[in-house]
Each structure stands twice: as C-alpha cells, then as structure tokens.
C-alpha cells in the first residue's frame, strides 16, 4: 500500500449543487495533511465521504487500502473520526465514553483499560476522567473526542475543524496534541480547517479547496514560495492608476502581481527590503503617486487570494452552505 488515503475523481452532488468536484489526492502514511478552505468549500463533504458517512456520487476513494464504498466496514475499523460538533454522551463520564467506544471497536477488557489510560494522559484528562462529560469545558470535550478517536489505534485519523470555536489558548494546546500524536503514534492525519495559521502550523502538506475543487496543493513553504518572494503592498492615491502601475511592473519584469483590491496592489519580489526603492522608482517614473508601502512575508491567505481572487475570511455564503443550512434547519 503506497498511500494512506487515495481518491480519484471523487465527486458529490447534492441535488443540482456540486459540493465536491472531481478531487484526486494521495496522502502518504504518516503525513499530516490539511484541507484548507472557506466555509462551504466542500471540506466536510470530502472528509465524510472518506470516512464512509456519505456516499460519493462519482469517482472512488481508498483509505488504508480499502475502498470506501465496497469495504466500508474495513475502512471504519481503520479510521478514527473527530466530527465538527460534539458526539459524546454527556450523561456518561469521560472514561465511560472511551470504554463504550473501545467495546464497539472490539477491544478486550485489558486492552481497553490500558488504552484508556494512555489516551487520557495523551490529552491530559486523567484527573477529570471520572467526571460526567456535561461538566467539561468545550476544550476538554474536544480533547476527549480526540482521545476517543485514537482509542482503537486507527491508522488514519480525520479531524473536522478540530479547533472551531475554541479560545486561542486552548487552540494552541490542541495543536500540540495533534502534533504529538502524529509523531508518537505515527497516525496519518487529515484535518479540515479554515484557519490559515492552523494549516500553516500543523500540516506537512495542504490542499487549498474552493467551490469543491482543489486550487493548490503543496507544502506550506512551497505554497508561500510559489508567490515568488516577499509581499509588498502599495497603496495608491488614485485607484484608476492601478492598471497602469501593473503594466509598468509587468513590462519591467521585476515583480509578480499577486492581486489587487480597491486602491491597493499586492506584488511579490525576491529580497523585498532591497527591492523597495527600485519598485518605488518605477512608480514615480511612470508618474504614479504612491501613498503607502508595506513589506511582509507571504501567508497562506495571500496564496488563497492569489488563486481565488478573494480572502478566505470573506464570509460569503456559498450555494453548498445554503443547502447544508437548509438540510440542517429542516431537521430542527
């Protein structure tokens, strides 16, 4: 088996809306792989298909060598899943939740006992293990869910927005646990997130997803380097000058235009500190007044803007999200 996760042309339609469109990815064993994209990009749908919770409409996928449609049982035995919302029984204690999980996955009593203590200490919940889950904080619940996902020694762990709705400090903690278990337990991890820093900090490789399609896929470093250096933001007095300025830079070939927004132009150059004077000189030669200049290292946000033309945080509601919302509210 070459890959822990392998999809080929996997697709999901909800009625006439395409949530996931023809995605083919391969994840090697031991990788920490991130799916980064805005809400409604299709990340959760993809992860649900890989974990056998949703039937694909087309294409195929293998997880740990098993086909998600024809060998769903074997896939389930080999994966751990941490869903977006809580899926704990809040009337039970943490330990009881883990114990029931172990039983459902066929672990014998001795294995369960040892493993419960192992995973509890991994997420530092040992002293709260016998408290009813109802009394846990949001961060503790999430940690317990991660511990539970690991109970049965899965080869592949899916984490759907593992730090959604958690405070920054708890988020950092969860990041540490994720890194530790990837390293110490050797688990292949696929996580979805719409936090750039999270993907950047944690993942070996990232697939940027938008409207159900992969727009870029590489290591965080390579993604950022693909922009061609440091990001210089130029603020213009007159937005009408933008096109002329872009042309000037393109003709000169000294910089890549990454994107533009209102009266700002984002360009990338190698060794930004040295290039600023040159960039400004070109502008004044073209007779375009510049109001402000700033220089920074590129972020994944820049990569996302470069590929999709908008920021990941722009909370536009996509069609898929509308459908998902409708489905959810119909149940309520």
């Amino acid at each position: 088996m070459l890959y822990a996760i392998e999809t080929s042309g996997i697709t999901k339609h909800f009625n006439e809306i395409t949530a996931v469109n023809n995605i083919s990815i391969s994840v090697k064993p031991g990788e920490l792989f991130g799916l980064l994209g805005p809400n409604g990009a299709g990340k959760t749908t993809l992860i649900n298909m890989l974990s056998t919770m949703t039937e694909p409409s087309g294409g195929s996928a293998k997880v740990w060598g098993f086909d998600v449609q024809r060998q769903a049982g074997s896939v389930r035995q080999n994966i751990g899943m941490v869903f977006q919302g809580t899926t704990l029984d809040d009337r039970l204690t943490g330990r009881e939740n883990l114990d029931l999980h172990g039983r459902l996955y066929g672990l014998d009593s001795k294995t369960r006992k040892n493993r419960i203590n192992e995973v509890l200490s991994l997420v530092e919940l040992t002293d709260r293990a016998d408290a009813i889950v109802k009394t846990y904080s949001g961060g503790m619940m999430r940690r317990l869910e991660i511990a539970r996902g690991l109970m049965h020694h899965p080869h592949v762990l899916f984490l759907d927005e593992p730090t959604l709705g958690l405070d920054p400090q708890t988020r950092l903690h969860i990041w540490e646990y994720i890194k530790t278990l990837n390293k110490e337990e050797g688990v292949t991890i696929m996580l979805t997130t719409h936090y750039m820093e999270e993907a950047d900090h944690l993942c070996n490789r990232i697939a940027i997803i938008d409207h159900g399609e992969i727009v870029a896929l590489d290591t965080p470093e390579a993604l950022k380097n693909s922009l061609g250096g440091d990001v210089i933001t130029l603020g213009l007095e007159n937005p009408d000058d933008i096109t002329r300025l872009c042309e000037a830079y393109q003709k000169n070939g000294c910089a890549n235009i990454v994107s533009r927004k209102m009266n700002e132009v984002f360009i990338t150059v190698k060794e930004g500190e040295r290039q600023i004077p040159h960039v400004l000189a070109l502008a004044s030669k073209a007779g375009i007044p510049i109001q402000s200049v700033s220089l920074r290292k590129p972020t994944l946000d820049d990569v996302f803007i470069h590929h999709t033309g908008r920021a990941i945080r722009d909370k536009e509601v996509t069609e898929v999200e509308k459908v998902e919302y409708k489905l959810r509210s119909r149940r309520k």
Partner: protein, 258 residues
C-alpha cells in the same frame, strides 16, 4: 470467522445495553416520576372506582382491577421512550459515533431495544411490587413470571415502534406530538381503566385494534386469573406485533442518515 462475527454482535448488543443501563441509573428523578404517576392512579382511582362502580356481571372494580393496566402503561411509556430516545442521540451528536463504528446497525438497534426493555421491565416490576404492597393479590408465582415475559414481549414491540418513529421524525418537537397523540389514545383505548366486555361496536373495534389491549388482558390473565380476551389470542397478537415492530424498527434505523 463465524465465531468472531457472533462475538462482535453480542459485544455490540451488550455495549448498547450497558449504555442504557448507565444512563438509567443516573436518572433517578425520571424513575421516581415514572413510579409516582401509576401509584397515584392505583390508590386514588382504585379507591374512588371501587366505592361507586362494579363490573357488570360481577367482580370488584378496584385497585386489583387497575394494576395490570398501570403496569402496561409504565411498560408502554418507558419502552416507547427508549426507542424514541434515538432522536436525542441525533440532536446531541452521539448517533454519529454509533453510526461510524464498524458494527452492524441491526445489532445496535437490538442493543438499544434490549436496554430499553430492561428499564421498562424494571419499572413494570416495581409497580407490580408496589401494588402488592398496598394489597393487590396475585394468582401465583408462575403467573407473576409469565407476566414478566408478557412485559418483555410487549416492551420489545413498543421499542421497535419507537425506533421506527425516531428514524422518521426529524425533530424533537415532532417527538412531543407523537408522545401525546400516540400514548394517550393507546392507554385510553386499552381496557386499562374500564372493562372491555360491554362496549359499543365502534369503541370495541378501536380497543381490539390496539396492541396495548392484549398486553393489559394478558397481564390480567396471568396476575389475576381472568381476562375477557382468551390468553392464546393475546399471546399470539403480542408476538406478531413485537416481531413485526422490531423488524420495522431495525429496517428503518438501518436506512437512517445523520
């Protein structure tokens, strides 16, 4: 290979049963509430009825007469509740944890049913004991044991019905509606509170179409030694009801999406 599969099935059923037991043991107020209602009926209605009415054709109309009906009512409430609690599991997300586990859905549903029937029987038996303590006389020890079997069979049937409903109902508001539109008619049309031998035709038809009637009648036969409906018919109807409901519940639960 076959052995492993059987072990796995037993383990699944046991796990789901264990969960119901832990939850049940933590809900003491629910247990007290479930016992208090029939107790009030038994004491107050029993005394009130016996001072004014008599069963046509002889026989006292007192707490002994009411006891089988109240046991049936407790079994109905708690087993229907046990099945319908799947709605809560969905609302609070735990259902996903069960559905993604590498186990058969059928055995999950069966485990849940056996867990629910256990709680239903505990409540039914407690009411049986309370009724005895306040003076209801039972026929024989064999009758009591047979009555427990009847509680089990009926409980399984109503849990199956509950699971089937839960798989179709999409919200917990819907659940409230089902509980009032289903449980009250079932109880009132069962002969738990009035003799069914001298009813007008339309009411008789409804009473005889109600599975709970056969539970009440069978319990009355085994506990008190007499019943209007022949015991063989009651047992046959309950068995058919139970098997078809658990099959229906298991089937719909298997198709359920989160």
């Amino acid at each position: 290979m076959v052995n492993a599969a059987v072990n796995r099935a037993i383990q699944t059923v046991y796990t789901m049963w264990l969960r119901e037991m832990i939850r049940f043991s933590r809900s003491k107020s629910r247990i007290i509430g479930a016992l208090a209602t029939p107790l009030f009926f038994l004491v107050i209605l029993g005394t009130g009825f016996s001072s004014s009415f008599q069963v046509k054709g002889g026989g006292a109309f007192d707490k002994s007469y009411l006891a089988p009906g109240l046991i049936s009512m407790a079994v109905l409430f708690s087993s229907l509740m046990g099945g319908v609690s799947i709605i809560w599991d969905r609302e609070f997300g735990f259902l996903k944890e069960i559905l993604i586990a590498p186990v058969s859905r059928f055995f999950v549903a069966l485990g849940k049913a056996i867990g629910g029937v256990t709680t239903a029987m505990i409540q039914g038996i407690l009411i049986m004991i309370i009724a005895w303590l306040i003076g209801v006389q039972y026929d024989s020890i064999w009758g009591i044991l047979a009555a427990m079997v009847i509680m089990f069979v009926s409980g399984i049937g109503f849990i199956g019905l509950g699971i089937a409903l839960a798989s179709k109902i999409e919200s917990h508001e819907g659940f409230q509606m089902v509980m009032s539109f289903l449980t009250m008619p079932l109880v009132l049309l069962s002969g738990a509170f009035f003799p069914i031998s001298n009813l007008p035709g339309w009411l008789k038809a409804l009473v005889y179409a109600n599975p709970l009637t056969y539970c009440v009648e069978a319990l009355r036969f085994f506990l008190l030694g007499h019943s209007t409906i022949p015991i063989s018919l009651s047992i046959a109807v309950l068995l058919i009801f139970s098997l078809s409901m658990i099959a229906l519940g298991g089937r719909l639960f298997g198709k359920m999406r989160v």
